[in-house]
Symmetry: C2
Subunit: 243 residues, 2 copies
């Protein structure tokens, strides 16, 4: 039986290399390289095809039963300070965007991949906006496209399949327009590689499973994907959580 | 032709009273009452049924073409400081969660409906997690349920309709469990009414359009909805943006 266990490293990631899992792994890899000796983590493969994410032990980490989830063993849950049982060890965080936020706030003190919420109010908000663009729009729509093409082909009507890919194409077009004259989604001038890019690019990398077979219509998006993926943190993060 | 215009009030909300629009209006109403003379706003009705959210002027406020969107006339876009044209007036924020974040950071300095990100690290993160629970899970799934029942009935297969409502019921069940022995989603003890509640309750209020006809199976959720909706800010926010 798999279960959560206290490890020697402060952070423990539970994941699988999907477009929702990869951003957190990619950020942890960036932080590990940028803050050597300060940020370190272990990763556990959660086998989505065996339904491990729905097991009781995992739902204590994430009640929604999805990857990614992170446990920070340097903290405890609010109200758990006096408890001694194993359930109270560590502070658990669920949701890909919430974990990126948590890591930025607590482990990226120099804002190397984020923006200062007090001194860079506009850039910080723009980062949140583009994080949400993916979290609340692109990612769920990507999931619907993939589900009716790969998981349950034939279970949706033509209308369902076509509507999903059309709505996904709209998100691709919005990104394409945003990346005109920009290298990255947020930041003055050409922008800075930040959480906003990290949360989004893995979805574009996996575009073929959605029904959008080519990126030729989206030259800015294609160049941005290559720019993001050529980073060592991205390539390393892409491998984290494999079986 | 409707367009963005500089108004006498610092904040301008573009909205429609949907479960995605109401949370921002409800928060602005709470802030207006909690910080009299400091926070004030005007609201413009965006007629979703006429497609106003897809018009060019609106896409300058929100490139995704969705409500809600907010313009803060006390700030300008990064890089726009030297521009004099009307397009550069005000700082525009899109996405319901991103707007709540922005308002909390800049207009709720005493954390009356939020948590201190520096001093209450765990509570702040839990608030972000439950905000994302709605933003990336409950809200998009609510939208799918509503679409295949109300907007395009008969266009999805039985599988599509049943899958959507089953997945939505899972989100309802997670909230129901979270609200055991709690008044609100986040905060020590019984919790504190915060952005996390505000972002979620309007979806529960509109449950009937999704195929979940009754809340009898969810007594904690039902009591919490009543608790949230009895607030003056909620009742006022519920009316904002009507035609």
């Amino acid at each position: 039986m798999t279960s959560t266990t206290t490890t020697s490293k402060p952070l423990h990631l539970y994941t699988y290399p999907t477009p929702n899992g990869i951003p957190v792994a990619a950020y942890l890899e960036e932080l590990k390289a940028a803050y050597p000796g300060v940020v370190d983590y272990e990763a556990t493969h959660v086998d989505l095809y065996k339904g491990v994410q729905k097991e009781a032990w995992f739902k204590k980490v994430n009640p929604v039963g999805q990857i990614p989830a992170l446990v920070d063993y340097t903290r405890s849950r609010p109200g758990d300070d006096d408890k001694k049982d194993s359930d109270s060890q560590g502070f658990a965080i669920f949701d890909g965007v919430a974990i990126l936020f948590y890591l930025a706030q607590n482990y990226d003190k120099e804002f190397k991949f984020s923006f200062n919420p007090v001194k860079e109010v506009e850039e910080f908000s723009e980062m949140v906006q583009w994080l949400m663009f993916t979290g609340s729009g692109l990612a769920p729509r990507f999931g619907e496209c993939r589900y009716y093409r790969v998981v349950a082909p034939g279970k949706g009507s033509d209308h369902v399949v076509n509507r999903n890919v059309e709505l996904l194409r709209n998100f691709f077009s919005v990104l394409e327009a945003r990346l005109t004259s920009r290298d990255y989604l947020v930041g003055r001038g050409k922008g800075k590689y930040s959480l906003a890019d990290m949360r989004a690019w893995p979805h574009i990398k996996f575009h073929e499973v959605t029904g959008i077979e080519s990126l030729e219509e989206y030259p800015n998006l294609k160049a941005w994907l290559e720019r993001c993926f050529e980073r060592a943190g991205s390539k390393n993060g892409f491998e984290v959580g494999k079986a």
